[in-house]
């Protein structure tokens, strides 16, 4: 268990027993949890190094109940942390010790699918994959596919602006939703966006997407559905040099081809994935690329030839086209199981989520290699190469004293490196609790102050997910002081790279 917690400046003005009694007036008894053993499952999300028992957990069964809970919390000035499936990787759903954990898990109905308009209206607790499964009988699907899509829910996807392996061609969550219904901290219901393609006024839909539960609680989402591509083909290319693999990605895109998916793995990931999935990955390669081309049959056939030629030109040591659906699934299985596969190499691993302009990949990988030496921790790299989203997996052993702290420091160096080359500290996992300090590196004090002003516009008392996503300037000053120690400038004069 680590030292990270929320900034506890909320002193409850109501006793726990009294709060539970009032919540039981609003919700059925089985929807209010307050005993330690019942609260235990809610103590962390997918970032399990950070744990905190909530004061109380509620599981409303209707939008009306969500509104009632919010009104009560607002009345008593209690922090509210919204939670979907709890698969988030940045501690965004880490509970507040004196707050209410609001689980949306019981709001899990698909309310409507309109096949002609190609939309689905769903409750926030509907799983990402369940939408595509329900739409598949109409030849439609929901495009964003985070790797946790079996379990993660659409409400959480909107709160985090989740991505997946098909973002370059099909966009992020923000590009694939039309409307959300949101309960404000005052308990009011706001409809943001519309079933038309645009709405009057400011683009609040963009602002709410990825706002990490800081501005409101999402209680309904209308998503766009796309026609399932007629054909998808995947090919594997092996390289004896990471730089060549990076060049191949640039060459494919420069040729006018936008692959549905374009993934890169380094040597350590290749070996781990191969041991785990037996996908036939070449173990001697320094890097592999998986390139998926989708579209109409004619288009895919044309592009497969084009891409094969490019890969050979760049100097791929091997180019292998999946002959059938089974082989295609196998090649993807290796990539999709990369995290658990790397997990078998070491007792624990810490997954990073930086983005970089792709041209800096060779430099960034070289620096990560040097840092790996310096910290004495191995790192495996998995890369959404098409969109520049790098997932270095740092291997460590939490049972060795100080090793988690060491891994976290190594991780923060990687994120700072991403900012240095013009990228971001998080591409799809969110800031949450985990990357709150690195926000001080990516943004200066005027920008952070602007973020706080946005927060204040929706939640003047700071009750929604307090202490997450946007650091206080005070916190950055402390973090900056830490940096002086490393010979860097203190915040707020911190230089922007």
């Amino acid at each position: 268990m680590s030292q990270h917690g929320c900034e506890h400046d909320h002193v409850p003005v109501i006793g726990k027993a009294e709060l539970v009694a009032q919540l039981l007036q609003l919700l059925p008894a089985d929807c209010v949890l307050f005993e330690e053993e019942d609260l235990r499952p809610y103590e962390c999300d997918g970032l399990s190094a950070y744990r905190q028992l909530p004061w109380v957990t509620v599981l409303p069964q209707s939008v009306g109940q969500v509104q009632a809970v919010m009104r009560l919390c607002h009345q008593h000035r209690l922090p509210v942390v919204a939670r979907g499936a709890g698969t988030g990787l940045s501690g965004g759903a880490l509970p507040h010790p004196n707050g209410v954990l609001l689980s949306l898990a019981k709001l899990k109905s698909i309310l409507a699918i309109d096949t002609l308009a190609r939309t689905a209206r769903v409750q926030p607790g509907v799983r990402n994959l369940a939408i595509s499964q329900a739409a598949s009988q109409y030849g439609l699907y929901y495009a964003p596919d985070p790797s946790s899509q079996i379990a993660c829910t659409i409400g959480g996807n909107v709160a985090e602006n989740s991505g997946g392996v098909h973002c370059l061609k099909y966009g992020l969550t923000v590009h694939n939703i039309l409307q959300i219904k949101l309960v404000t901290i005052e308990g009011d219901l706001l409809v943001v966006g519309s079933e038309a393609l645009d709405s009057a006024g400011y683009d609040l839909l963009a602002l709410m997407t990825g706002s990490e539960g800081m501005l409101g609680v999402i209680v309904e989402v209308t998503v766009r559905l796309l026609p399932v591509p007629e054909k998808a083909k995947v090919m594997l290319a092996a390289f004896d040099d990471v730089e060549k693999a990076g060049a191949a990605v640039g060459a494919i895109i420069a040729a006018g081809v936008i692959p549905g998916g374009l993934e890169m793995m380094d040597k350590l990931s290749i070996g781990a994935a191969e041991d785990f999935a037996h996908a036939g990955y070449p173990r001697d390669a320094e890097a592999i690329l998986l390139c998926e081309l989708d579209g109409t049959c004619e288009e895919v056939a044309e592009q497969v030839e084009q891409v094969q030629a490019i890969l050979k030109d760049i100097g791929a040591t091997e180019v292998r086209l999946a002959r059938d659906e089974q082989e295609r699934a196998l090649l993807w299985k290796g990539r999709k199981s990369a995290f658990p596969a790397v997990g078998r190499l070491s007792p624990d691993y810490y997954c990073m989520d930086g983005t970089i302009p792709r041209r800096h990949l060779p430099f960034v990988l070289r620096r990560i290699g040097e840092l790996s030496q310096q910290y004495g921790l191995a790192v495996a790299n998995v890369f959404h190469a098409g969109d520049g989203n790098l997932h270095p997996l740092i291997l460590y052993d939490a049972n060795k004293p100080g090793e988690l702290a060491n891994a976290e420091e190594f991780g923060s160096k990687i994120l700072e490196l991403c900012v240095e080359v013009g990228g971001s500290i998080t591409g799809e996992h969110g800031v949450g609790m985990e990357k709150i300090n690195q926000m001080c590196v990516q943004y200066d004090s005027a920008e952070l102050t602007q973020f706080h002003a946005i927060k204040h516009a929706f939640d003047p008392q700071g009750l929604l997910n307090p202490g997450k996503a946007v650091p206080t300037l005070h916190r950055c000053a402390e973090f900056g002081a830490m940096h002086v120690h490393d010979g860097k400038l203190p915040f707020p004069e911190l230089e922007r790279f």
Binding site: V174, A196, G210, I253, A254, G256, R359, Q442, I454
Partner: protein, 356 residues
Amino acid sequence: MPANDLTASLQQQVQAAYAGKTPLKIVGGNSKAFYGRQTTGAELTVLDVSGHSGINSYEPTELVLTARAGTPLAEIEAALAEKGQLLPFEPPHWGPNATLGGTIACNLSGPRRPYAGSARDFVLGCHVINGKGELLHFGGEVMKNVAGYDAARLMAGALGTLGVLLDVSLKVLPVPQDKLTLVQPATLPAALEQMNKLAGQPVPLSASAWVDGYLYLRFAGAKSAVAAVKQRVAGDVLVDAATFWRSLRELQLPFFAEAASLWRIALPQTADQPKLPGDWLLEWGGAQRWLKTAASIEQVRAAVAALGGHATLLHGGSGSDAFQPLPAGLWQAHQRLKQAFDPAGILNPGRMYEGL
């Protein structure tokens, strides 16, 4: 600092306006002055962004272009064309001087919008000056960035009321290898149904419109994919298709010629036609409908709102009621956001709504 980088001067002007509480009217190429309401306020000072121009960076293999707000759209499109790429949202120019800043501030998109995305969808990041004269950077030059609130995309369509756009980074895409437009006679309901049925099938649809009793469908993609469309979809090949779609985008088709009162109606794509008198032109699979009508403003707004859409008055009316009024809860959120970015209310006051 290069001559066409006016960051420092623009920032000083906004700081002075903030100190003196004197409102600013932000102007680029002035091609969209007719769109929306007029900026209001005594002693309006013009903040001329048109000189803040030039492409900062363009990396074709990364599909990212960054340009200053005053850069002419035509210059950006030419630079992209040289590398076989384009702005996927096919922005309307509405005049020869259209700039990138105005295009993003109005969030204007053309015929490809329902199939590729809107101007807002392709915004990756931007530098802005807020109403306190502070220089801020949101988003970046990467496809994915979820650190902090998405204030960059919030600027799209805000008509300069939340910040002065200095530069914008956009995702761009390759020019499709081939294009084909097919035309067939169709009633309005039949056209609406066919546009939407096709959009649910794996065909490379890239634009759709119903004009004067004819359904126009444009397909774009790999040569072989476009060739295959001819076997699957009925209709005659439109010869000068580029001119047709450009004229539609620029509101230069005969339909738009004698418009006493022109409405842009945004509706759910498959929504029934509002019961309003007048002439209609449909595009975007039915999500964008143009109406010339003698009906009153109240009548139009009520009919459109009942169907889940909103109506924008482009020509006609007093100019004071360009946009659909917002419900109370949303209006309050707008006022608070305006306060958050522009506490003195000096950035394009009244340009979008009175009091914003």
